[in-house]
Protein backbone atom coordinates (compact mmCIF):
# COMPACT_ATOMS: atom_id res chain seq x y z
CA UNK A 1 0.00 0.00 0.00
CA UNK A 2 0.88 3.67 -0.14
CA UNK A 3 3.02 4.78 2.78
CA UNK A 4 3.08 8.35 4.03
CA UNK A 5 4.31 10.38 6.98
CA UNK A 6 2.82 13.53 8.45
CA UNK A 7 4.53 16.79 7.59
CA UNK A 8 5.97 18.75 10.53
CA UNK A 9 3.26 20.73 12.30
CA UNK A 10 5.09 24.01 11.71
CA UNK A 11 5.13 23.36 7.96
CA UNK A 12 1.40 22.62 7.93
CA UNK A 13 0.73 25.76 10.02
CA UNK A 14 2.61 27.81 7.44
CA UNK A 15 0.50 26.34 4.65
CA UNK A 16 -2.65 27.67 6.32
CA UNK A 17 -1.75 31.33 5.89
CA UNK A 18 -4.58 33.61 6.99
CA UNK A 19 -7.29 30.96 6.70
CA UNK A 20 -9.91 31.26 9.46
CA UNK A 21 -11.74 27.97 8.90
CA UNK A 22 -9.67 24.87 8.36
CA UNK A 23 -10.87 21.39 7.48
CA UNK A 24 -8.49 18.51 8.16
CA UNK A 25 -9.62 15.65 5.97
CA UNK A 26 -8.33 12.16 6.65
CA UNK A 27 -8.56 9.03 4.57
CA UNK A 28 -9.55 5.63 5.87
CA UNK A 29 -7.43 3.50 3.56
CA UNK A 30 -3.63 3.39 3.06
CA UNK A 31 -2.69 6.36 5.25
CA UNK A 32 -4.88 4.98 8.05
CA UNK A 33 -3.07 1.65 7.93
CA UNK A 34 0.33 3.32 8.18
CA UNK A 35 -0.86 5.67 10.95
CA UNK A 36 -0.20 8.84 8.99
CA UNK A 37 -3.59 10.24 8.03
CA UNK A 38 -6.52 8.14 9.19
CA UNK A 39 -9.33 9.26 11.48
CA UNK A 40 -7.21 9.42 14.61
CA UNK A 41 -4.34 11.24 12.93
CA UNK A 42 -6.72 13.73 11.29
CA UNK A 43 -8.39 14.34 14.65
CA UNK A 44 -5.06 14.77 16.42
CA UNK A 45 -3.78 17.11 13.74
CA UNK A 46 -6.98 19.16 13.85
CA UNK A 47 -6.68 19.46 17.64
CA UNK A 48 -3.02 20.42 17.42
CA UNK A 49 -3.64 23.05 14.71
CA UNK A 50 -6.55 24.46 16.64
CA UNK A 51 -4.61 24.76 19.88
CA UNK A 52 -1.47 26.03 18.15
CA UNK A 53 -3.63 28.72 16.56
CA UNK A 54 -5.18 29.67 19.89
CA UNK A 55 -1.89 29.90 21.75
CA UNK A 56 -0.45 32.00 18.92
CA UNK A 57 -3.47 34.30 19.00
CA UNK A 58 -4.91 33.35 15.61
CA UNK A 59 -8.65 33.42 15.17
CA UNK A 60 -8.84 30.02 13.58
CA UNK A 61 -11.42 27.24 13.75
CA UNK A 62 -10.38 23.74 12.84
CA UNK A 63 -12.67 20.83 12.07
CA UNK A 64 -11.87 17.35 10.95
CA UNK A 65 -13.57 14.63 9.00
CA UNK A 66 -12.56 11.45 7.23
CA UNK A 67 -13.62 9.70 4.06
CA UNK A 68 -13.04 6.05 3.36
CA UNK A 69 -11.15 6.62 0.10
CA UNK A 70 -10.03 10.13 -0.67
CA UNK A 71 -8.63 8.97 -4.00
CA UNK A 72 -12.13 8.50 -5.43
CA UNK A 73 -14.37 11.43 -6.37
CA UNK A 74 -17.56 9.70 -5.26
CA UNK A 75 -16.21 9.23 -1.75
CA UNK A 76 -15.13 12.85 -1.32
CA UNK A 77 -18.60 14.00 -2.35
CA UNK A 78 -19.68 13.11 1.20
CA UNK A 79 -17.82 16.05 2.71
CA UNK A 80 -19.38 18.76 0.54
CA UNK A 81 -20.81 20.63 3.53
CA UNK A 82 -17.54 20.68 5.44
CA UNK A 83 -15.71 21.86 2.34
CA UNK A 84 -18.28 24.60 1.76
CA UNK A 85 -17.64 25.81 5.32
CA UNK A 86 -13.85 25.73 5.08
CA UNK A 87 -11.45 28.36 3.73
CA UNK A 88 -8.77 25.75 3.25
CA UNK A 89 -8.53 21.98 3.45
CA UNK A 90 -5.57 20.03 4.81
CA UNK A 91 -5.57 16.56 3.30
CA UNK A 92 -3.88 13.83 5.29
CA UNK A 93 -4.45 11.39 2.43
CA UNK A 94 -1.71 10.54 -0.05
CA UNK A 95 -0.90 12.84 -2.95
CA UNK A 96 -3.68 11.20 -4.91
CA UNK A 97 -6.34 12.07 -2.35
CA UNK A 98 -5.07 15.63 -2.12
CA UNK A 99 -5.32 16.00 -5.90
CA UNK A 100 -8.76 14.44 -6.11
CA UNK A 101 -9.91 17.00 -3.52
CA UNK A 102 -8.42 19.83 -5.56
CA UNK A 103 -10.12 18.52 -8.71
CA UNK A 104 -13.50 17.87 -7.09
CA UNK A 105 -13.51 21.15 -5.14
CA UNK A 106 -11.83 23.52 -7.56
CA UNK A 107 -12.86 26.69 -5.72
CA UNK A 108 -10.96 25.73 -2.53
CA UNK A 109 -7.31 24.94 -2.08
CA UNK A 110 -6.51 21.58 -0.53
CA UNK A 111 -2.95 21.44 0.83
CA UNK A 112 -1.00 18.31 1.74
CA UNK A 113 -0.69 17.42 5.41
CA UNK A 114 1.47 14.40 4.73
CA UNK A 115 4.38 13.49 2.51
CA UNK A 116 3.58 10.50 0.34
CA UNK A 117 6.68 8.35 0.65
CA UNK A 118 6.42 5.12 -1.29
CA UNK A 119 4.59 1.92 -2.11
CA UNK A 120 5.57 -0.55 0.51
CA UNK A 121 4.85 -3.07 3.19
CA UNK A 122 5.36 -3.22 6.95
CA UNK A 123 8.36 -5.42 7.75
CA UNK A 124 7.78 -5.18 11.49
CA UNK A 125 5.62 -3.10 13.82
CA UNK A 126 6.34 0.51 13.00
CA UNK A 127 8.79 -0.18 10.18
CA UNK A 128 7.73 0.17 6.55
CA UNK A 129 9.87 -0.69 3.55
CA UNK A 130 9.58 0.28 -0.08
CA UNK A 131 8.67 -2.59 -2.36
CA UNK A 132 7.37 -1.28 -5.69
CA UNK A 133 8.06 1.65 -7.96
CA UNK A 134 5.09 1.12 -10.26
CA UNK A 135 7.35 0.90 -13.33
CA UNK A 136 4.54 -0.66 -15.32
CA UNK A 137 6.49 -3.68 -16.53
CA UNK A 138 6.81 -6.19 -13.73
CA UNK A 139 9.88 -8.45 -13.76
CA UNK A 140 9.46 -10.08 -10.35
CA UNK A 141 9.23 -13.47 -12.08
CA UNK A 142 12.88 -13.17 -13.10
CA UNK A 143 14.25 -11.91 -9.81
CA UNK A 144 12.91 -14.36 -7.29
CA UNK A 145 10.06 -12.06 -6.31
CA UNK A 146 12.37 -9.26 -5.14
CA UNK A 147 12.18 -5.97 -7.02
CA UNK A 148 15.55 -4.47 -8.04
CA UNK A 149 13.88 -1.43 -9.59
CA UNK A 150 12.48 -0.31 -6.24
CA UNK A 151 14.98 -1.88 -3.89
CA UNK A 152 18.37 -1.48 -5.59
CA UNK A 153 19.62 2.10 -5.13
CA UNK A 154 20.74 2.04 -8.76
CA UNK A 155 17.75 0.08 -10.09
CA UNK A 156 20.24 -2.31 -11.66
CA UNK A 157 19.01 -5.04 -13.94
CA UNK A 158 22.34 -6.88 -13.78
CA UNK A 159 23.34 -6.56 -10.17
CA UNK A 160 24.84 -6.62 -7.63
CA UNK A 161 27.18 -3.66 -8.02
CA UNK A 162 30.61 -3.59 -6.41
CA UNK A 163 29.32 -1.83 -3.32
CA UNK A 164 27.36 -4.76 -1.93
CA UNK A 165 28.97 -5.77 1.34
CA UNK A 166 27.81 -8.15 4.06
CA UNK A 167 24.40 -8.21 2.42
CA UNK A 168 23.93 -4.47 2.82
CA UNK A 169 23.50 -1.66 0.30
CA UNK A 170 26.43 0.73 -0.10
CA UNK A 171 24.06 3.66 0.11
CA UNK A 172 22.60 2.74 3.50
CA UNK A 173 23.83 -0.15 5.60
CA UNK A 174 20.43 -0.42 7.27
CA UNK A 175 18.98 -1.52 3.95
CA UNK A 176 19.62 -4.98 2.52
CA UNK A 177 21.25 -5.23 -0.90
CA UNK A 178 18.38 -6.23 -3.18
CA UNK A 179 20.70 -8.24 -5.42
CA UNK A 180 22.12 -10.15 -2.48
CA UNK A 181 18.53 -11.09 -1.61
CA UNK A 182 17.82 -12.02 -5.22
CA UNK A 183 20.97 -14.13 -5.35
CA UNK A 184 20.06 -16.03 -2.19
CA UNK A 185 16.46 -16.55 -3.26
CA UNK A 186 17.34 -17.79 -6.75
CA UNK A 187 20.02 -20.03 -5.27
CA UNK A 188 17.47 -21.58 -2.91
CA UNK A 189 15.00 -22.00 -5.78
CA UNK A 190 17.74 -23.56 -7.90
CA UNK A 191 17.13 -20.84 -10.51
CA UNK A 192 20.49 -19.06 -10.58
CA UNK A 193 20.33 -19.36 -14.36
CA UNK A 194 18.01 -16.34 -14.28
CA UNK A 195 20.79 -14.25 -12.80
CA UNK A 196 23.55 -15.55 -15.06
CA UNK A 197 21.97 -14.32 -18.28
CA UNK A 198 22.32 -10.74 -19.45
CA UNK A 199 19.04 -8.90 -19.73
CA UNK A 200 18.14 -6.23 -22.28
CA UNK A 201 17.86 -2.51 -21.48
CA UNK A 202 14.54 -1.80 -19.82
CA UNK A 203 11.80 -0.01 -21.70
CA UNK A 204 11.03 2.82 -19.30
CA UNK A 205 8.08 4.11 -21.31
CA UNK A 206 5.69 2.20 -19.09
CA UNK A 207 7.26 3.91 -16.11
CA UNK A 208 6.93 7.60 -15.21
CA UNK A 209 9.51 8.37 -17.91
CA UNK A 210 6.84 8.00 -20.58
CA UNK A 211 4.84 10.89 -19.12
CA UNK A 212 1.71 10.62 -17.04
CA UNK A 213 0.23 7.18 -17.39
CA UNK A 214 -3.40 6.32 -17.98
CA UNK A 215 -5.26 3.02 -17.99
CA UNK A 216 -8.37 2.77 -20.13
CA UNK A 217 -10.62 -0.22 -19.57
CA UNK A 218 -13.21 -0.20 -22.32
CA UNK A 219 -15.08 -3.03 -20.63
CA UNK A 220 -15.68 -0.84 -17.60
CA UNK A 221 -16.55 2.44 -19.27
CA UNK A 222 -20.11 3.67 -19.21
Amino acid sequence: MIRATQKPLSEISDLLGEARRVLVLGCGTCVAVCFAGGEREARTLAGALSMAGRTAGHDREVRHNVVQRQCEPEFVREVEDDVAWADIIVSTACGIGCQVMNERYADRLTVPGVNTDFLGAPIEHGVFDERCQACGDCILDTTGGICPIARCAKSMLNGPCGGSQDGRCEVNNEIPCAWQLIYERLLSLNRLDLMLRNVEPKDWRSSRDGGQRRIVREDLRL
Partner: protein
Amino acid sequence: MTQFTPSITVYSCAYCGAVPREMAAIERIPYPPEAHIVEFPCISRVQSDVILAAFEAGADGVLLVACEEGNCHHQGGNRRTLQRLEAMHALLAEIGIGAERLGLWQGGLGQPTAFVEQLEGFVESIKQLGASPLNRGERAGD
Protein backbone atom coordinates in the same frame (compact mmCIF):
# COMPACT_ATOMS: atom_id res chain seq x y z
CA MET B 1 -5.37 38.06 43.63
CA THR B 2 -7.52 34.99 44.02
CA GLN B 3 -5.95 31.60 44.40
CA PHE B 4 -5.64 29.77 41.06
CA THR B 5 -7.39 26.42 41.08
CA PRO B 6 -6.10 24.30 38.25
CA SER B 7 -8.08 21.68 36.45
CA ILE B 8 -6.08 18.47 36.33
CA THR B 9 -6.95 15.44 34.25
CA VAL B 10 -5.48 12.20 35.49
CA TYR B 11 -5.48 9.44 32.91
CA SER B 12 -4.99 6.33 34.90
CA CYS B 13 -4.39 2.68 34.27
CA ALA B 14 -7.27 0.54 35.55
CA TYR B 15 -4.81 -1.56 37.56
CA CYS B 16 -1.82 0.32 38.91
CA GLY B 17 -3.76 3.57 39.14
CA ALA B 18 -7.17 2.32 40.23
CA VAL B 19 -6.00 0.01 42.99
CA PRO B 20 -3.97 2.63 44.93
CA ARG B 21 -6.82 5.10 44.42
CA GLU B 22 -9.28 2.68 46.04
CA MET B 23 -6.83 1.86 48.81
CA ALA B 24 -6.44 5.58 49.47
CA ALA B 25 -10.21 5.81 49.74
CA ILE B 26 -10.40 2.85 52.12
CA GLU B 27 -7.57 4.25 54.22
CA ARG B 28 -9.24 7.68 54.09
CA ILE B 29 -6.25 9.45 52.62
CA PRO B 30 -7.72 12.45 50.81
CA TYR B 31 -6.45 13.31 47.34
CA PRO B 32 -6.59 16.73 45.69
CA PRO B 33 -10.07 17.71 44.52
CA GLU B 34 -8.56 19.38 41.40
CA ALA B 35 -7.73 15.97 39.96
CA HIS B 36 -10.34 14.48 37.65
CA ILE B 37 -9.46 10.85 37.31
CA VAL B 38 -10.33 8.99 34.12
CA GLU B 39 -9.49 5.31 34.02
CA PHE B 40 -8.52 3.35 30.94
CA PRO B 41 -8.19 -0.42 30.65
CA CYS B 42 -4.57 0.27 29.68
CA ILE B 43 -2.61 3.53 29.75
CA SER B 44 -1.29 2.83 26.25
CA ARG B 45 -4.77 3.68 24.95
CA VAL B 46 -4.02 7.30 25.88
CA GLN B 47 -2.38 8.66 22.78
CA SER B 48 -1.83 12.23 21.62
CA ASP B 49 -5.44 12.65 20.53
CA VAL B 50 -6.76 11.83 24.00
CA ILE B 51 -4.25 14.10 25.70
CA LEU B 52 -5.05 16.97 23.33
CA ALA B 53 -8.76 16.41 24.01
CA ALA B 54 -8.14 17.02 27.73
CA PHE B 55 -6.34 20.30 27.10
CA GLU B 56 -8.92 21.37 24.57
CA ALA B 57 -11.63 20.66 27.17
CA GLY B 58 -9.91 22.95 29.64
CA ALA B 59 -7.30 20.96 31.55
CA ASP B 60 -4.30 22.88 32.84
CA GLY B 61 -2.28 19.71 33.28
CA VAL B 62 -2.51 16.04 32.41
CA LEU B 63 -0.96 13.31 34.53
CA LEU B 64 -0.57 9.80 33.17
CA VAL B 65 -0.53 6.99 35.72
CA ALA B 66 1.05 3.87 34.31
CA CYS B 67 2.23 0.58 35.77
CA GLU B 68 5.74 0.09 37.02
CA GLU B 69 8.33 -1.36 34.68
CA GLY B 70 7.84 -5.11 34.39
CA ASN B 71 4.42 -5.04 36.08
CA CYS B 72 2.05 -4.09 33.25
CA HIS B 73 -1.21 -6.01 33.27
CA HIS B 74 -1.10 -5.88 29.48
CA GLN B 75 2.53 -6.89 29.25
CA GLY B 76 3.97 -3.79 27.64
CA GLY B 77 1.36 -1.03 27.61
CA ASN B 78 3.42 1.08 30.01
CA ARG B 79 6.47 0.77 27.78
CA ARG B 80 4.49 1.90 24.76
CA THR B 81 3.42 4.99 26.66
CA LEU B 82 7.03 5.67 27.62
CA GLN B 83 8.00 5.26 23.95
CA ARG B 84 5.48 7.91 22.96
CA LEU B 85 6.11 10.34 25.80
CA GLU B 86 8.88 12.26 24.07
CA ALA B 87 6.76 12.87 20.97
CA MET B 88 3.79 13.90 23.13
CA HIS B 89 5.95 16.38 25.02
CA ALA B 90 7.33 17.75 21.76
CA LEU B 91 3.83 18.20 20.37
CA LEU B 92 2.63 20.04 23.47
CA ALA B 93 5.67 22.28 23.37
CA GLU B 94 5.14 23.01 19.69
CA ILE B 95 1.49 23.98 20.00
CA GLY B 96 2.31 26.36 22.82
CA ILE B 97 0.83 24.44 25.75
CA GLY B 98 4.18 23.35 27.12
CA ALA B 99 5.73 19.96 27.68
CA GLU B 100 5.79 20.40 31.45
CA ARG B 101 2.00 20.24 31.62
CA LEU B 102 2.10 16.53 30.85
CA GLY B 103 3.39 14.32 33.66
CA LEU B 104 3.88 10.61 34.07
CA TRP B 105 3.93 8.49 37.19
CA GLN B 106 4.64 4.80 37.15
CA GLY B 107 2.91 3.54 40.26
CA GLY B 108 2.71 0.36 42.25
CA LEU B 109 -0.51 -1.47 43.15
CA GLY B 110 0.04 -1.17 46.88
CA GLN B 111 1.16 2.46 47.09
CA PRO B 112 -1.82 4.63 48.04
CA THR B 113 0.34 7.17 49.85
CA ALA B 114 2.74 7.54 46.96
CA PHE B 115 -0.22 7.85 44.60
CA VAL B 116 -1.69 10.72 46.57
CA GLU B 117 1.69 12.41 46.96
CA GLN B 118 2.22 12.27 43.22
CA LEU B 119 -1.17 13.85 42.62
CA GLU B 120 -0.46 16.58 45.15
CA GLY B 121 2.96 17.22 43.71
CA PHE B 122 1.61 17.45 40.18
CA VAL B 123 -1.24 19.78 41.18
CA GLU B 124 1.29 21.97 42.93
CA SER B 125 3.58 22.07 39.89
CA ILE B 126 0.68 23.13 37.65
CA LYS B 127 -0.33 25.78 40.17
CA GLN B 128 3.18 27.15 39.82
CA LEU B 129 2.84 27.19 36.03
CA GLY B 130 -0.52 28.89 36.15
CA ALA B 131 -3.41 28.32 33.79
CA SER B 132 -2.98 26.62 30.46
CA PRO B 133 -2.43 29.16 27.67
CA LEU B 134 -5.77 27.98 26.28
CA ASN B 135 -7.54 29.02 29.49
CA ARG B 136 -5.98 32.41 30.04
CA GLY B 137 -8.45 35.19 30.15
CA GLU B 138 -11.36 32.82 30.36
CA ARG B 139 -11.10 31.95 34.02
CA ALA B 140 -10.32 34.10 36.96
CA GLY B 141 -7.34 33.48 39.13
CA ASP B 142 -4.25 33.76 36.97
